[in-house]
């Protein structure tokens, strides 16, 4: 770990992106291409009485109009198979697709949509997730018992995923407590809001279709397409041009099948490009709205002895990843604290809202925001400093996680101390300012990954993977790993990625998994090439391969750097002699940590957190007490990612996570009126702007994981977005003396809290 890793490398796709050379899905044009438009339901819950597309089909220039009647009746879904491509009999959210049109121009396609005759019988929408859990409540899915679901998912009516963690003896814990603190916190739904909206272009050649899509997960997208249109995987190629951000919103399968079906029916290439309203209302990966309640027993010395939490996640009209996210949420509701006795329950509740799913660190920021405010409230009750209270309970090596996993060397405590040090915890502040702390943890997601590397005859190399570059730079970073192993300059490594025909299966840019899993495959593939080069060089140099190293484009003797042979010469000679030097890696995924397993219900994907990253953020805010407007002046971040491989990339992820987290904290929330989004546009769904970005200080704690990614690294993409909102909330409370228990903490809500109201 010396020549390449740990140094600051600028990613290879940076220049084309900032100079406008990079091409995105919506930029692509094919000869004869048609334009797609969707007719959305526009109402949150209804029964379809009539759907007549004949007038739309008759409009000149319209080449295809499709409804559910025109595609196979196949239910699909990542966790619960609860949906169809088009609305079938009922409408469950406003963005539900009733019909799709392909026409010569976008205007004609829109006009055809308006010619479709629809009769909807409006039904009262299910919008209150607590009421939806009551016996006899109207069911969002009346046929829920007929749906298939992944093994282990516990469902009951509107709850499509019940999860719990049971540890120790909760009643005995409360009996031993000196103080019991309770709290309830509510978070609104928010959105991933990538700058690039969803776009899909499909073209058939014979029985094969190529789909260019804005997906973060090309293989799951292909899987959805093959399943819903009943095609073999070999008949579908999914390619992602450059992706303009995803933040989880482009995970899984979306509109690839609709567009492929249109292109097949129209016998022409068809392109779909979403507008911003569709991006808000008709996608299905919003960040869950939650209701979190806590009850925690502590001893006077600050020891937590009992921790009870109940989480309700509003997953909207369809489950998507909801049940799995609720499982993650229960782990987040425990937090990185020692809990001898714990009972956490999570419910994944259907409603007639836009479906929620895997937005960056799904459930993480909301649950951390709720838990860490609760933790501050406990410290206040005990009269303990908030840093001190956390230090007394935070997990360290040898401690047991919520589901019984045993922690190895971790940097939870050190990250907290770093954040506190960088913000100057405890220093005097001007009136109106306040400081807050929050800690958290997040997993790395072990999974299958493969890599193929070709050594070119000029000594450059090409790395081929199925990985997806969502903008985080993790695929770009794969070149650094290969360069380190092969002794080549990173600029000599090219990458082929996000094309299902080229690379091996990959679960995509989700779960902070790319470096963690694909990185190990790159190391394995590089090792094969490296071994071959070492043997060839050993012959030539008459040396033992163990005494040689690959450095700066040559293979050389470790003790006599002058004795060397150029890698390009070896590659050229091999090719001339009829041998191609390639490597292939598909190492097994790291095992999940041992956990309680059987005593917890509904645990399907994350019985424990593999190679968990630990972190803490600290924020300093200034609150305008008259208006409730909060300005965040400073955020300090301490992060343990196992080992940092490319500091410039990781700092970028942390800075981006902080800014994303500030939006979640202060301004990003979906407002619903009677089940329709009232702010599906960027004027009133307020992202943070460059002018809002505070001073940021970042420190990394080194604690390589034994069962981690390359060189002991852990997933980086999601953790940084988790604790910022919580730190800001605690800073607001410190500045004002009141807690804001509704996320986002808008000026109206802060002002109402200051006035003693719950807004």
């Amino acid at each position: 770990m010396s020549r390449v890793l740990g140094r600051r490398f600028v990613r290879a796709d940076g220049l084309p992106k900032v100079t406008g050379q990079a091409r995105y899905a919506a930029d692509l044009v094919l000869p004869g291409m048609l334009h797609a438009a969707f007719l959305h339901a526009g109402v949150p819950r209804a029964r379809i009485r009539r759907l007549d597309v004949s007038a739309a089909r008759a409009l000149p220039g319209v080449l295809a109009v499709l409804t559910q009647d025109d595609v196979p009746f196949v239910r699909f879904g990542a966790a619960v198979e609860d949906r169809t491509l088009f609305a079938h009999e009922v409408v469950r959210f406003e963005g539900e697709i009733l019909a799709a049109v392909a026409a010569l121009t976008p205007e004609l396609a829109d006009r055809a949509c308006r010619l479709i005759e629809v009769e909807l019988e409006a039904l009262p929408p299910v919008l209150d997730p607590e009421a939806a859990l009551a016996p006899g409540a109207p069911l969002v899915h009346e046929d829920w018992q007929d749906y298939s679901a992944n093994d282990g998912i516990v469902r009951d009516g509107n709850d499509c995923g019940f999860v719990n963690i049971v540890k120790g003896d909760i009643e005995a814990g409360f009996a031993a407590a000196d103080e019991i603190v309770e709290g309830r916190y509510v978070a609104d739904m928010s959105h991933p809001v990538p700058i690039e909206p969803h776009a899909v272009l499909a073209q058939w050649e014979g029985d094969r279709v190529t789909v260019w899509s804005t997906t973060q997960t090309p293989f799951p997208a292909r899987n959805g397409l093959t399943r819903t249109l009943e095609l073999p995987e070999s008949a579908v190629r999914v390619v992602v041009p450059h992706l303009g951000g995803g933040f989880g919103g482009k995970c899984e399968f979306h509109f690839e099948a609709h567009v492929a079906a249109l292109a097949r029916a129209a016998r022409r290439p068809v392109r779909l490009v979403f507008d911003r309203r569709q991006e808000f209302t008709a996608t299905d990966m919003a960040r869950h709205g939650i209701i979190a309640t806590f009850r925690t027993g502590v001893r006077r010395d600050g020891t937590i002895v009992a921790h009870e939490a109940s989480l309700i996640l509003d997953t909207g009209a369809y489950a998507t990843h909801g049940p799995v996210i609720t499982e993650i949420a229960t782990m987040m509701a425990a937090g990185p604290y020692r809990h001898p006795n714990m009972l956490v329950e999570g419910r994944t509740v259907y409603s007639n809202r836009t479906p929620a799913g895997s937005t960056r660190a799904p459930s993480g920021p909301q649950v951390c925001w709720a838990l860490e405010q609760h933790v501050d409230a406990i410290a206040e009750r005990l009269g303990l400093d908030k840093l001190e209270f956390r230090l007394r309970n935070i997990v360290a090596e040898g401690d047991e996680g919520p589901t019984g996993q045993r922690f190895e060397k971790i940097g939870a405590r050190e990250s907290l101390l770093e954040a506190a040090r960088l913000i100057g915890w405890g220093r005097p502040l001007p009136p109106g300012d306040g400081m807050g702390l929050a800690v958290g943890w997040w997993f790395s997601a072990p999974g299958p990954a493969g890599c193929y590397i070709k050594l070119n005859a000029d000594g450059s190399a090409t790395v081929v993977t199925g990985a997806q570059e969502n903008g985080s730079g993790s695929v770009m970073g794969l070149a650094l790993l290969a360069a380190e192993e092969l002794g080549l300059a990173p600029e000599r490594i090219s990458l082929v990625y996000q094309d299902t025909d080229a690379g091996a299966f990959d679960s995509g840019s989700s779960g902070s998994q790319t470096t963690f899993n694909v990185g190990r495959a790159v190391l394995a593939a590089s090792a094969q090439i490296r071994d071959r080069l070492l043997r060839m060089a050993a012959d030539e140099l008459e040396a033992n391969p163990l005494d040689l190293e690959l450095v700066e484009g040559v293979v050389r003797a470790k003790d006599a750097p002058g004795r060397s042979v150029v890698i390009a010469a070896l590659a050229r000679r091999a090719q001339d002699d009829g041998e191609l030097i390639t490597g292939q890696g598909n190492p097994p995924a790291p095992k999940m940590p041992d956990s309680l397993g059987g005593s917890c219900a509904g645990r399907v994907a994350f019985p424990a957190f593999a190679a968990p990253a630990f972190f803490a953020h600290a924020a300093r805010v200034r609150v305008d007490r008259e208006t409730g407007v909060v300005r965040v002046l400073e955020v300090a971040a301490g992060h343990e990612f196992g080992r940092v491989l490319n500091p410039i990339g990781v700092e970028g992820q942390v800075e981006g996570g902080i800014v994303h987290g500030l939006g979640i904290a202060l301004s990003e929330g979906t407002v619903f009126r009677d089940g329709n989004q009232a702010n599906p546009h960027l004027l009133d769904y307020k992202l943070q702007t460059a002018a809002d970005v505070p001073a940021m200080k970042i420190a990394f704690v080194d604690a390589p994981a034994a069962d981690g990614g390359p060189y002991g690294s852990k997933g980086v993409g999601e953790p940084p977005v988790v604790p910022t909102a919580a730190a800001v909330a605690n800073a607001i409370a410190a500045a004002t003396g009141v807690r804001v228990r509704h996320l986002p903490m808008t000026p109206v809500r802060v002002w109402a809290a200051l006035a003693g109201e719950d807004a």
Binding site: D110, H681, K686, V748, W751
Partner: protein, 297 residues
């Protein structure tokens, strides 16, 4: 509906040509300058484009900022927010207008969006309206049958409603000389984030001070709390003729709420808006007073 069937586009080269076109096209005509409201609303499906688009960007005679000999100000309709934000004259003497121009949308919007467009769009949340109200500005409306002037307060009738008649073009804004004494003006907006905001509550204030520091004139206007930008007469009366002590300023600001008739919407509750009016007005009065006091030095 939004299909471009039978739609025409005109780009007159002179004001006379534009006026003649508007007379000819009548109710079908819609004027486009920067397009930051018209085009965005059409793209978003909120409003259709007019059947006949009359683009006035070539009428360079409407892009001028001029001081009048007696201390007034004449602004062409095509003056952009960025022009106002950068003009030395506006920044020095018509500070509230410069404050407001600098707050409009994004830099891109400010460079393309025009004063005339902002007024004709008649949003209650417009930035340029409240400052022009406290300057007692009038709009100049030209048509084939002549030119008329109308006080801005009479021009703005409600959300997206103005007194502009078919065939009329808003060609400019005239502002009379400021009152005697040391004059200061300011525009303040409540912002949820640090840029790219739209008004939830805004206030423009003009004060004139005599040698003793007494308020000889006080004018206050509010943004985004009523169907149009409005003057807050009660608050003005409370300040006029008074020494602007902290208590009097606060009391005057509190009376500004009487002019507010806010609504509940996605940006804020009516209660919040009502509560914010005195806060923002008080801060705007303080800012205007500070500028007036600096005039003396």
């Amino acid at each position: 509906m939004a299909v471009a069937v039978g739609r025409t586009y005109h780009a007159p080269a002179s004001l006379d040509e534009a006026i003649a076109l508007l007379a000819e096209l009548g109710n079908d005509a819609g004027v486009v300058a920067g397009g930051t409201d018209l085009v965005v609303a059409a793209r978003g499906g909120r409003r259709q484009l007019p059947t006949a688009l009359v683009a006035i960007h070539r009428l360079s005679e409407l892009a001028t900022i001029e001081g009048s000999p007696f201390g007034g100000l004449a602004l062409g309709a095509l003056v952009t927010h960025a022009d106002l934000e950068r003009s030395d004259l506006v920044r020095r003497r018509w500070t509230a207008l410069a404050d407001a121009a600098a707050l409009v949308g994004s830099p891109a919007t400010r460079h393309v969006g025009t004063l005339g467009g902002n007024l004709c769009n008649a949003s209650p949340a417009m930035e340029s309206g409240a400052p022009l109200l406290v300057y007692d500005a009038s709009v100049e409306l030209r048509s084939a049958s002549g030119t008329r002037g109308l006080p801005l307060a009479d021009f703005l009738l409600g959300p997206a409603r103005t007194a502009l008649a078919p065939g009329e073009l808003l060609t400019g804004v005239t502002v009379p000389p400021q009152p005697a004494g040391r004059v200061g003006s300011a525009y303040l907006r409540l912002d949820y984030r640090a840029s790219m905001e739209i008004a939830v509550v805004g206030a423009a204030v003009l004060v004139a001070l005599d040698a003793d520091g007494r308020c000889t004139e006080a004018r206050i206007a509010l943004t985004a709390v009523a169907p149009t930008v409005v003057r807050a007469a009660d608050a003005e009366t409370a300040l006029r003729g008074q020494l602007p002590t902290t208590e009097r300023v606060a009391a005057a600001a509190a009376r500004a709420a009487a002019a507010a008739r806010p609504i509940d919407d996605v940006r804020a509750t009516a209660r919040y808006r009502t509560a914010m009016v005195p806060v923002i007005v008080r801060r705007a009065i303080e800012a205007a007073l500070k500028r007036a006091e600096e005039e003396a030095a």
